[in-house]
Each structure stands twice: as structure tokens, then as C-alpha cells.
Symmetry: D2
């Protein structure tokens, strides 16, 4: 609960696969899931090295007997317990997401999965089918989609504050791989090799993040066709380190997306601007507590997270009043809170009335990367989306 | 632990007084203390209404028998248990801090106390004496003093990057009380009445926050004399809603502080600029992930939280890499992490080698308010500090 | 001269065609040309209405007998005078630029021409041939290309501060035509009709401006092929009100350009980011006195116009020391100063050693629009540039 | 005229004293006076070295016989001509302003004088008496007071948009003199020596600039008493290089002013924030085309120079539409335009209905410095203003 609000009958019984000692992403999963008592960490297979994983689990307060050597044992043993886990978070390397997520769904567990959900659209459809048929929730951690101001954007657009949506400008261009850092840093290497990263480097690594912000805010975001221009500016790389995408949407709107790992000087750089016939909004993840709202012909307004003038739906997840800053961890915690509510509802055969990045959202990212790559290998030509 | 780093033998056994359902400040205490497994919430007297407090505690996972009706019972009963609490956080109205903190120390407990610690310098000295004589830790939650970039500022100054410190400009002027909101909002009223707020409104409510940022960063911040000009711009208020302070420091530096609750348009506005003979730094709490570093004659540099170029001491509490944003909750979590380490060290008769807002810091805030008020009532004349 | 520096033997004897009473563009031409005594306004055909033009010229201090009814009479009569004009500025509607510029060159006059120089690449080649064969200067008023920080960018790139240039991001998207303002404002209408505006609205109206900034800063900016996606979001318009362009350069770099007249909330929005293998720079025309310089792995630096750390070539046109702001008028005055020096040098058969937007630059803009339109009408396919 | 608007019967016949070759301030006076044909430069005593001054005047197009060796000859000889000058601008070292201005007024000339008008309040009163008795205009070049957004602030306040004015925060702290640059740069030395600079360094050099912005915007800005804390942080200096001022106004509002030459990293830094009971405005001279407008409880709005939503009085001096930037030169040109209109009106025995920094404004700055210095030398005690 945020600030003592009761939203669950009981905390979801929860385990992790991966995310062990030294894992940045494992830490943010736990910080978020445990933040509001929505989840209770009861089991795990935290590490490829069982001994190290067990030691880490115990340190986290997990019972020794529920620290398992691998995900298969985890799912099998927990299934035997009357108080076994209800949900699992998957924070392992990209190439293993598909098999673990599939196994979790098969075991009847709700899941939270790091993106990308899988590497091919065919795999994604398989996971969607599994989840839908068993009425299971799969949350995908597109972190900033949980930010209060993204919800505000969604509300503004659905209330017509921007008029008809015309243009969506997306970018997520950072600079950390401007030189061959992978030669010295093995941790960097997996992001840019097909075996571990899938068919794309920057489209999948960062482009899908900002794509999801667009999908979150613009409810009729449906791509008609697209064109993608990629390049490996660092020539030794097999996968692209920069990509530009042009998109025509079914609605008649147009969208662009720039993904890059060689944008010198940018630490992160996720930014989205949505232009309607009456007004635009713009949001930037390095100053996430402010959003620009620009009605044509009027002074630009700076909306602040927590501002009393925001839509009630946006303020539902206020953790502290405006002026105080919230960051990435708080946006993630909002997502985990929504996942928990959705999981509990699913257990009762119900649907929730709010948005969260679910398995359809995850599948859409996989398809988008696939289509972008298809365009790029075909001389950056136009590709139909459906 | 942050990201799986082991810093404690065991989580500190912990209780809360106050901070019950609907309390914003209680929520941030729990979010911070529980974030990194540094504390374990085992008991509490969460509410002035025992029934409501008990219900709330149970919802938080506290055993029913350890949800106590009041702080006196809490301290007495826990003292009888072999697994009784080691520390308590005090998140009650200002006027009760002194008596509860004194009782906690007397009961041999470490404490974390909301500011102000108490209302008079004499009370503060009493608490300091108690804590020091019993080797107990009292942490005071000046939240942003735990921010990574504030530690960076501290390191820069101690390494001489700014040269000799000349001027410190502090401000914490927000606008929420520009009109008589207290007439409709009883929750606002207590901040501006002597009985509940103490001898000052904005000096104590917000001025001390930014004063602590200065003390954190400038290690020889010692006031020689000061002058304070206050006013209640909303005339029905007994306490000041705006204050300007001028200070001469022992070192020859000069400092100013502007505190306000009537600065229309500012949600928060805590800002500090420190000017040395070589360079200045400036930090603003509404965009806390950036700090300006301005070497005279060179282009202004924007330091980013998490930047690889920061001092190692500043990056010690990185929760996520640069470009991602951290907010107020993360800064608070850093403080609670330091409190835990200090409490464990104190239990072993040791001191820690890092800075945190301790009882001396808390006492300093009380004294500063007292001296400012003394100047203000004496026609805004100069007052010696010692 | 700036600040008393003597650069000319005598001020250039100068006339204007167009730019009469109420013309915003005529005013900026005069403000710039007369600013530093580089030009002397001696004649003109200021208005399509001869009487009104004559009255206006007299008010400007032009001798009545040198206020001519039209440009043909102006060129013919001035040619007869021993003290006749040496140069003419053309500030008439777009559709007349070609014929007037051609007539000026034929009359042996140097010219300053508003962009676009003409409507087709064939026309542009004709003007280039004329100017080159007669050793005449044609300056094109891409205003901000004269800004000190653009010169700084040019110097940084030529000195290798950015490393190898990889990506150039250009945009000039404003919002004033988000709705059908042309229905009420006839002055807006000519910009978007083929007869008066040429083959394009926003590509020619604003896209070429930022294209020139790129060409100014990146000396080997040569397009290999490009693709352009256009749309008229306001459906009653014949010409596009939004355009996205992707470009591959001969050097292996990639460039993008976004031009728009429907970007709600943006007054101007001309921005350019140049990314090299070591660092990036970014400049925005609404805050033109600052440029961001971002070395990968270091804090972002904010370069200020007038800063002592800028390259000497950039500071050559300082009109006032750093910290004081210069604006569009000052950038224009820099251009006119360079035009004057180049005209004087041409009269002596010499070339100047500095950059300015000359007839080749003007011709390049015309060709670029032509190629973009060619791509757009061919289903936004790739078009070879040469 | 701006953009062809006719405001004068004829351009004012004008001369300069000082401001010769290499003078930055002379250049800005000429750029501004000549910009809109409001003044015509016909005579001058441009340099302490008559030969050099004559040469420079001729280069500017002044007739050789009207380039005089000194100001006394200038005034005497011009008085004999039927077409003699009507006004003179004084751009000489501070210590000479009083005598030259007095001589100009005595000769029946309107004057434009660099600040400070003089060194003592007694001198200022003498000049006021002279000007008023002879119905002569004296304009003082507080440059940014001519900026369109300052006029917008003035209009907003007079229309009640801010409510009752409560607090005025002024600052003009730059960093160029953080070290002993005067040892190497003789041009810096005169600013900080009593003989040439008067009784104050930073209060007079920069503090009065921002004081005038306050007086321009807040029409009932009347000081009741003040207190000033000064220091020479560079110890070899006789005059202060930093000053803090607190002021109580007659209206009940309070004001503060920080002036500094040792604020490392700031190139200029002139900033003003005016807080009313309903809203605040804030303006910063390093990004002069934007002003923040902050209604309590609403999103901050960014007003842009040239915006169609500004008050008509503010847009009266638009030189170009919004989005394009104007800078210091344009603000100065606005002042000179107002001086010209006021001079013409005075010649007809009329007053103008707009604000400009006149001799009363100039005298006020001199008095303010005098009172600040009086407080500082009396142990930074409170000093009555009248």
C-alpha cells in the first residue's frame, strides 16, 4: 500500500529467478516489489551458481530451504507447498527470458519479466496464448511507464486536451558505447551480440522503452507501416548502435524514434514529445518530475509531479507531495503495485480498469524490433506492420 | 544493503511512534528504513488512537501483541523482551518530539527523530547529554542531506576544488501558504501556531533543512553572529511566514538564508549555492540529479548523480547508474542506511567514519532558530551566536 | 566596423528592393546593414506601390530622386551615376527572388538575397554561373549562421574536438500554423501556396535554415542520398506542413531533419545537435547565447557566447562581452559585415578566408528542397543526391 | 522608427563625449541611438586624445570640423551653429560624469549619461534641479530596463496580476573579479578604486542596475530603511567586492539585493524575482527572452518575448516576432528610442506617458549607494532612507 492504503487481501507470495548479488536490476525489482507490502519474497533461484544464490537468498531473509538451485526446481518444489509462491520475477539474461517465462506460465504462476520478453514474434504469440488461456498476469518492466506524469499524459490525451494526435517524437539515445568499451567491459558485450541480445542492440535495448511510453499515453497507437535506418558506427559491432525509425500510424498520425548508444554526452536521454492539433506535451527522463504542456499560442506550462492540478488518475500513486522529487525506483514501485492488484484480480477472475505494461505490451515490443530489423536489412525500405 | 552489499550483522530491530495510516511522513520513514533490509519493523505505537494504530500495525505485518497503545507502553514492554527493539523512529507532532526522544534514550534505545528535535536549545543540550553519555545514536531526518550530490559537494569542498569558501547562499522558499489556507485546512494550521510548531514557522519548518545542507558540505560552518528579518505577510498569523537571515561565519565567510511559505509558484525551492575563491557549486532540490559546478573562467559543468567522475565517497550509495533519476525517497534511504551502520557501530563501542545528521546536527538547528528569533524580536539586530 | 575596428575603405553603396513600411524582414536587413557603417543606404525601390515606397525611402533619409518605382528603373538609373550603388538587398516575395537577383547580377551589382534564392535547381545553377563569371558576391540571409556560437561549433569540429562526425540532428519545428490561421491571415497564405512559396512549405521556409547551420559547422557535409516523409496535417493545404528527412552523407555520417509548422507550443524551435566519436554539441535558437558541449564520460559543459575560452575566430565578432546577450539582429549584423568585406574583396579580385552563406549555399538549399520533394512524391523512397 | 513607424519630426541632432575607438560602451551607445533613425550623429569629443578622437569621428562619418578636442569646446562651438546638436551622450569614466552632465544641461542640451550619474546625492540633487528647471531630458542607460519583458512585468504588476507586492529579490552577482585580476588588467582597476569608482564597487557597478529593474516594474518602490553587509573578499581591495542589502519598503513589502564581483562561474547573473500575494515573476538577464510567471497553485508559465499574449505596452517595441531572440543591444535601442521621444516632447513642453530611466532614476541610484555605504560603515546597522 502507498501511505497505508489497503489494496490487497494479502501480499502476493513471490519469488525471483536471477537478480542475485551485484545485479543492479535484481535490486530494483526487490526495491519495487517490497516497497508497499504488495509482495512478500519467499523463495528464489537467485544465481546461476546455486551456492552463491542460496547465500544471497538467506541474507535477504528467505528461508534456506526455499533458496533453490535453478528455476525448474523452484517451480516444481513450490508447486508442492500449500503456501507456495503465486508469482515470480525473471531477472536473467535476455536469451533465457522466453523459456523461463513459458515455464512459469505452465506452472500456473503470474510473472514479471524483464524486457525483451523473448526474441521473436512467434515466441511472443506463444506466451500471449499461454497467459491468456490460463488467465495469468505477465507484467513487463518498462520502468518509466509507471511514472505519474506518464499517466498524466495518458489522461490529458484521452480527455482531448491535446486535440487530435498528429506527431509522436520518441528518442532514447545515450552515449556510453560511443567507443569500443566492450573490449574492456565484458558486462557491456552481451548487449551487442546476437546470441545474447537477440536480433538488435539499441532498438531492443532502449527503443522499446520509449515506444512503450508512447503506447501508454496514446491509446490508439497502431502502426501501419515503418522504415528503419540502422548503422554500427563502431565498425567492429555486429548489431546496430544507432537506429532511426519512421512510422505511419493507422490513425493518420506519424511517429519517429531515435535509439542510440553512441550519442556522446547523454547519460540516458529518453524523451517523448506528443503533438496534437491543440497542444503538445514533452517529457524527459533525466528531469522526470516536470512535463512541458504547450498549448499553441499560450505560454508554455511546466507541470510538476504531485501538482494538485494533475488528473486524479495521475495522482493516485502520489507517494509524496509535489516539489519533492520521485525517481526511477518510485516509477517501478508503481508498476509492481499495479501488477499485484492485477494478479489478485486475475485470481478472482476479474480485470483491472487501469493500464499497465502487460504481456500484449511485451509482445508488441518484440514485434516492433522484428519489423524494424526487417526494414533495415531490406535497404531501409517501408515495411507493412500487419 | 544496497544491491546485495552486506553491511550489518543483522537488521536493526525497530519500532515506530506515530506515522500511522494517512501519514505522509510515516510512509517515507518506513520506505527508507525497510528499503535495504537495514531495519526490521517489529513493534509500534502508530496512532494516537490505539485501536486504529493496532489495525494499521497488523496491516504492516507487525505482530498484534507488539502494536502498543502509546510510546510509554511500547518502551516498557519491549524492554522486557529478549528480542526487544533496538531503535525507534519518532514521527509525531513537533511538540512531542522532545519528551518521546528523551524517553527513548532513557530506555536505552537508538532513535531517529523528525526535526525539530525539540523547541529550545536547553532541551537540545539535555538530549545531547543523554545520548552521548549512553553512547546512543540519534539520527535526524534532514532528508536531502543523504543525497549523493550533497556528499559530492562535501567531498569537493574538502578536497579544495572550490578553494577557500567565501559565500554560502541558502534558500527554502515555497508558496503553499501565500493565502490563508490554514482557515480551510486544519493540517496546515499546526505548522504556524507556537504551541505546536515552536517559536518559529518557516525558520524551523524549512530553513533548518537547507542549513543542514550547508553544514553537511562545509565542514567548518560555524556561525559568529547573525541577523534575522521576519514578517507575517498573512497578517492573521502569529508566527513568521517569511524570514531573511544574514550570517558572519568564524572562518570569515558569509552566509544568507531565505525561508518562506509565501513564495508564490514555488512547490519546494530548496537551493544552495556555495562560492569559493576558485569555483562555485549549486544544487536545487526540484532537479536533484544535477549539480552545477562553475569554475571561474571556464564553462559551467553539470554534474550528474551517478556520474563516473564523482568522488568515490559520493558514489558509495549509488542505487542505480547515472542518467536514471533518484529522488527524495532514495536520499532518505541513504540516511537510514547510515543510521543503521552507526547504530551497529555504537553497539560495539565504535564510531563511524562518515557523516550523517546526528543529534549534534539536530541540536544546532534548534539553536539556530532560537538565535534567529532573538534577532528578529530585537529589531532585526545582530546577535552573537555563542 | 564593430567597436571602431576599420575593415572597409568605404561603406558599400547600397539599395534595397522591397522591405518597405511594415515589413519585418526589411527592418532587419536595414538594422544589420547599417549597424556597423558597412553599408550606406542610398537608393531603393521599397514598395510595390511607388508612391508609398518613395515616402518611406525619404523617411529613411534616402534622396527623393533615388527612390525608384521598381527594381528595373533602380538598376538602370543607378548604373548611370558615377556614385551609383554597388550592392542591393532583395526583400521581396519568394516568387520574385530569381528574376530580381538575375537582373542585379546582370547589372553588375553584388546582391544580398532572402532565401529561397529561387524555386528550381536549374535556376540556381544559372545564378551561380552569372555570379561566378562576373566575380560578384551574393549573400543569402540564413540569419543564425552568423551567430558567434555557430562559428565556435565550426571551429571545434575543424579542430577535431568532436572526433569523427557521426550524426547530425536538425530540427526547425514551430507551431504557428497548427490550425488554419491562413483563413484569417492573408499574410500567412503565401507561405503555403505553390505559386508564391515554391514547391514546398516547411522544407523551404524553415528546413533550409537549419540545413545551413549544419553546412556551416560541418565542412564536409555532402549528401549521398535522402528520404523524405511529408504530410499536410491541416488537410486544406496543398503544400506540406510537416516533413521528416533522413540522409546518408558521403562521409558515412547520417543526418536527420524535422521541419514543421504545426508543432504546437514552439515559437521557433531551430535546434541542431552534432555528434562525433568523442563529443557532441547542441545549440537552440531560442536560447542562442548558450551551447552545450558534451564530452562522453565528462560533465556537460555550457559554452557561453563571448566566453574567453571560445576560439578566436568565434570571438572575432564579439559586440559585447560574455554574459550580456546577443540576439538574432546581432547574428544578422555579423552576416552583413562579412558580406561587405567579401564584396570589397571581390571588387579587388580577391577572396575572403572566412565562411559566409554565399550563392553556393543558397543554391544548395534549393537543390535540397527539390530532392526532398522528389522523394516525398515517390512514396518517400530513397533518392540519390547527385 | 521600429519597422518604419514614424515617431519623430526629425532625428535628434546628437553628439558623443567619450566612447572612442575600442570603447565597448561607446559602441553600444551608437548602435542603439542610430538603430531606428531616432538620432543623427553630427558631432563629438570622442577621445581624451583629440587627434585620435578626430580620426575616429571622421571614420564614423562625422564632419571633421565637428570633431572637437574636448567637451567644453564641443558644447561652446555647437551652441553657435543654427544646426547645432540638441543632445549629447556621455560615455566617459565615472568620475567625470557629474561635471560633463552639468555642463551639458547648462548649455541647454538634453543628455544621455552612463551610470552612475555622479558620486554623491548632493550632486544628484543639483543635476535634478538643473534639468527640471530647464525642462531638459536626462536619460540614464540602465540597459535592460528597456527590455520588452521588463515592461511586461511592469504592466502585470500595475494590472494586479501578482496581487499585492510582498517581496522583491534582486541580484547581480558575477564572478570575473574572484581573483586579483586587477593586478594584470589596468582596465579592471578603475572599477574598484574610490577615486575613479566612487564610494562603492559592486553596489554602484551592478547593484544599481537591478535596483532599477525593480523600480521600473514596481511603481511604488519606496525604501523606508535598509541594512547593508559588505566585504572585500579579495583583501587588497579598498572597496567592497560583495554586498548584501535588506530593505523595508514604505508599502510594507520587503526587498533584498545581492551584488557581487566574486561569484565564481557567473558571467553576469542579473536576476529579479517579484513575489505578490497571488503570483510571482522572475527574469534573468542571461536568458532574457523568457520570463517565469508563477501563479500559486498552477503550473509555472514561461512568457516569451514577442508572445502574442503579452500586454500591448510590452509589445510596442517588438522588433521581430516571438521565438526570435532579442538581446542587450535591442533593449538599449528601446531606451534610446524612448529618450528621443521624450526629448522631442520636452522641446514642445510636453511630458511622455511611458516610463524610462530619467534623471530621478539616476539620482535614486546614487542615493541608494550612499545609504548602503552608510549602513555598512556603521556595523551593518539599519539606516532610515529619508
Amino acid at each position: 500500500m502507498i501511505n497505508g492504503e489497503k489494496i490487497l487481501d494479502h501480499p502476493i507470495r513471490w519469488a525471483m529467478v536471477g537478480g542475485g548479488r551485484g545485479s543492479q536490476i535484481g535490486y530494483i525489482h526487490r526495491s519495487s516489489a517490497l516497497r508497499d507490502n504488495s509482495f512478500q519474497l519467499l523463495a528464489g533461484a537467485f544465481d546461476i551458481n546455486p551456492e552463491r544464490g542460496r547465500d544471497f537468498g538467506i541474507q535477504l531473509g528467505v528461508a534456506p530451504e526455499r533458496c533453490y538451485p535453478d528455476y525448474k526446481t523452484l517451480f516444481a518444489e513450490e508447486a508442492k507447498r500449500p503456501d507456495g509462491i503465486e508469482a515470480v520475477s525473471i531477472a536473467t539474461p535476455n536469451g533465457t527470458h522466453y523459456e523461463i517465462c513459458k515455464a512459469a506460465l505452465t506452472a500456473g504462476l503470474h510473472a514479471v519479466c524483464e524486457k525483451p520478453l523473448c526474441f521473436t514474434h512467434a515466441q511472443a504469440k506463444e506466451l500471449v496464448r499461454l497467459a491468456d488461456s490460463r488467465n495469468l498476469v505477465v507484467g513487463v518492466t518498462y520502468g518509466y511507464s509507471g511514472h505519474e506524469l506518464i499517466e498524466q499524459g495518458r489522461q490529458m490525451i484521452s480527455h482531448g486536451d491535446l486535440g487530435e494526435i498528429r506527431i509522436i517524437r520518441m528518442q532514447f539515445p545515450y552515449g556510453a558505447y560511443a567507443s569500443t568499451v566492450e573490449e574492456k567491459d565484458p558486462a557491456a558485450k552481451w548487449r551487442m551480440e546476437p546470441k545474447t541480445a537477440g536480433p538488435s542492440f539499441v532498438l531492443g535495448d532502449v527503443g522499446t522503452h520509449v515506444l512503450f511510453l508512447a503506447e501508454t499515453m496514446v491509446s490508439d497507437f497502431k502502426i501501419k507501416n515503418l522504415l528503419c535506418l540502422t548503422k554500427s558506427f563502431v565498425k567492429t559491432r555486429q548489431l546496430e548502435d544507432n537506429a532511426f525509425v519512421l512510422m505511419n500510424l493507422e490513425s493518420g498520425a506519424q511517429a519517429t524514434c531515435w535509439s542510440s548508444a553512441i550519442n556522446c554526452g547523454a547519460l540516458h536521454g529518453q524523451k517523448i514529445r506528443i503533438i496534437g492539433s491543440k497542444a503538445s506535451i514533452e517529457w524527459f527522463d533525466e528531469r522526470p518530475n516536470q512535463m512541458s504542456y504547450e498549448v499553441e499560442g499560450e505560454p508554455v506550462r511546466i507541470l510538476e509531479r504531485g501538482g494538485a492540478y494533475l488528473y486524479p488518475e495521475a495522482r493516485r500513486e502520489d507517494r509524496i507531495s509535489g516539489g519533492h522529487s520521485e525517481g526511477l525506483f518510485d516509477a517501478w514501485a508503481n508498476l509492481y503495485r499495479r501488477f499485484a492488484i492485477a494478479m489478485q484480480a486475475a485470481g478472482k477472475g476479474k480485470k483491472v480498469d487501469f493500464w499497465y505494461p502487460d504481456i500484449h505490451a511485451g509482445a508488441q515490443g518484440v514485434k516492433w524490433v522484428e519489423k524494424c530489423v526487417e526494414s533495415a536489412v531490406n535497404g531501409s525500405s517501408w515495411v507493412d506492420y500487419n
